[in-house]
Symmetry: C2
Subunit: 331 residues, 2 copies
């Protein structure tokens, strides 16, 4: 009987529960995945805490990302075959599907084949981050010479945004609150790193952009810092917010916004991964850059399957640089 | 010697001062306009109060709109001739130019010929409102069937937005805080009017759009009501803010924005009128619709030139429906 990691009430990492659950029959458009690795996301921590955009119904599945081997395909599935190495794209609701388990059912439309030279760990670490960062290209038109301000840059999505910026010839300016992440972020490709505890975000961005400010801003934090981000923005900049890490309310910085004709766009991944045309465009771009070696996920730490609670605690510590993985190969 | 209405300190309408000022020599790219009518704008009230995006330097000129007859053209001006009926487009800074006077100097790039069948009063009432509302078409892609929520709809720009929405076949939903403006707004073309003091903006928009919400929102108020506007917005809606009428801070409604992938765009007219390509496109569209009789400014009240203080007081009363004009024909 498959083991799923679910939760029966919202709360801290200790609410995660290893449940034996009878394998459900497969729908026509679903696949069954033998899981080899699970990518852990901040969204799952927030969902577990009851602080996400969607509310769980109990017992609730959990998890957006997993990679492994297809072990069964629904009657209507043509794109995948049993034995294919594949991974999930987060194009579903955690109210219905989850990836935390040793064998999970997922919609075939939310699967992608694992690139040949990627391990399942790497594949489970790739799709949330690259499809999310692709918003900068699909909606922000990120291009050579752009100054891109990336906050919480040591997160997996932040690092993915740095890689995408470099891939198109833009200048990724990273921010962090931890001094010991500055050097790793430079090594990860940031053209500059601002330690926001040590120096002024606005002054540094202005200095790094010859006074112009950042054309594109990519922020999962929001909260009171939104005002500084808008101050650091260039004329007609796009400010993308893709998360809600700050629990504090954010002001709408109206005079900054009016004075510089700013656009604030709140985006979720669904805008790309639930739109077949945009999804195909993103897939083609990302897979070609992975094949060319320009994109490669950075894995912060790998936990064994029986240590999901520890993996969530590590996520909450904010010590990681890159993706946290739970792998069945890790003992 | 020309009489200009200027102000020597910020404050209430009483700071407006009728000053005799020697006519300056004309720059190569400037024209001198014999003023017949002046259109009054909220921006001028805010500038006079020191609460606008730009700060005045004293003595400060004032005014974005005037129409009349060209009485002199600079050496480099080819598009206008002495005797042409023309009006200003607000494509300049009030730190440098103003329209409150009997003879004023303006940049030729910020002038437009008055349509043949328009009076100078109508011409002075047209360009701020139609070019501002044109943001909905240029940046919002407003089209047939869209539900467009227009706040402060009895303002000149609000009424212009109603006319533009009708011109493309969209449904303009107007809001007002004054019960006695409901019927006039319906007569002005609103498909529905919400009296926000009497009923819930969110509930009414949902009811009027079969639960979908508004695709486009056009708001000069901002302030705390921004949260309700975002709640009334449809999935992937564009929320345009083009003013700062509320003195209160606005929250950035992050969860609404993320949950519906909203885009908040802060726009000033300059994005169109200071961009030659966009300005030409807007001009062509607006002039053709004026010629077709689809656009016609609504004039709320006309004051004589010696009653500019009263005209500003009337603007501040918020009783008007449409444009307030100061005219030299009015005695």
């Amino acid at each position: 009987m498959p083991t799923l990691i679910r939760f029966h009430r919202t709360g801290g990492p200790e609410v995660l529960s290893y449940d034996q659950v009878a394998a459900p029959a497969l729908g026509a458009d679903e696949v069954r995945l033998k899981v080899e690795a699970i990518g852990i996301n901040r969204a799952e921590v927030m969902f577990r805490e009851g602080k996400y955009i969607e509310e769980p119904s109990f017992p609730s599945p959990l998890g957006y990302e997993a990679a492994g081997v297809i072990e069964e395909v629904g009657a209507g599935v043509a794109e995948f075959r049993v034995g294919d190495r594949a991974a999930s794209i987060p194009a579903f609701s955690m109210k219905k599907y989850g990836t935390y388990g040793d064998s999970v059912v997922l919609p075939a439309s939310a699967m992608i084949k694992t690139p040949d030279h990627f391990s399942s760990e790497e594949s489970s670490a790739s799709w949330m981050q690259y499809f999310t960062a692709f918003l900068l290209i699909e909606f922000g038109g990120m291009k050579r010479g752009d100054h891109v301000l990336i906050t919480a840059a040591a997160s997996s999505v932040g690092l993915a945004a740095i890689q995408l910026a470099n891939a198109v010839g833009a200048h990724p300016i990273a921010t962090t609150r931890k001094k010991d992440k500055v050097q790793p972020l430079l090594e990860a490709g940031a053209s500059a790193v601002i330690d926001v505890k040590e120096s002024s975000l606005v002054d540094e961005v202005k200095r790094l952009t010859s006074g112009q400010g950042a054309n594109l801003i990519f922020d999962p934090v929001v909260g009171p810092q939104l005002a500084a981000l808008c101050e650091a923005a260039a004329e007609s900049a796009n400010v993308f917010v893709y998360g809600a890490l700050s629990p504090e309310p954010a002001p709408f910085p109206l005079f900054q916004a009016l004075g510089k004709n700013l656009t604030l766009r709140a985006y979720q991944l669904g805008l790309i991964v639930r739109n077949p045309e945009k999804l195909e465009r993103a897939k083609a771009w990302i897979l070609s850059r992975i094949a060319a070696g320009e994109l490669k996920p950075k894995i912060a730490k790998v936990f064994p399957f029986d240590q999901m609670v520890e993996a969530h605690r590590f996520m909450e510590s904010n010590e990681q640089i890159g993706k946290i993985i739970v792998s069945f190969s890790k003992k």
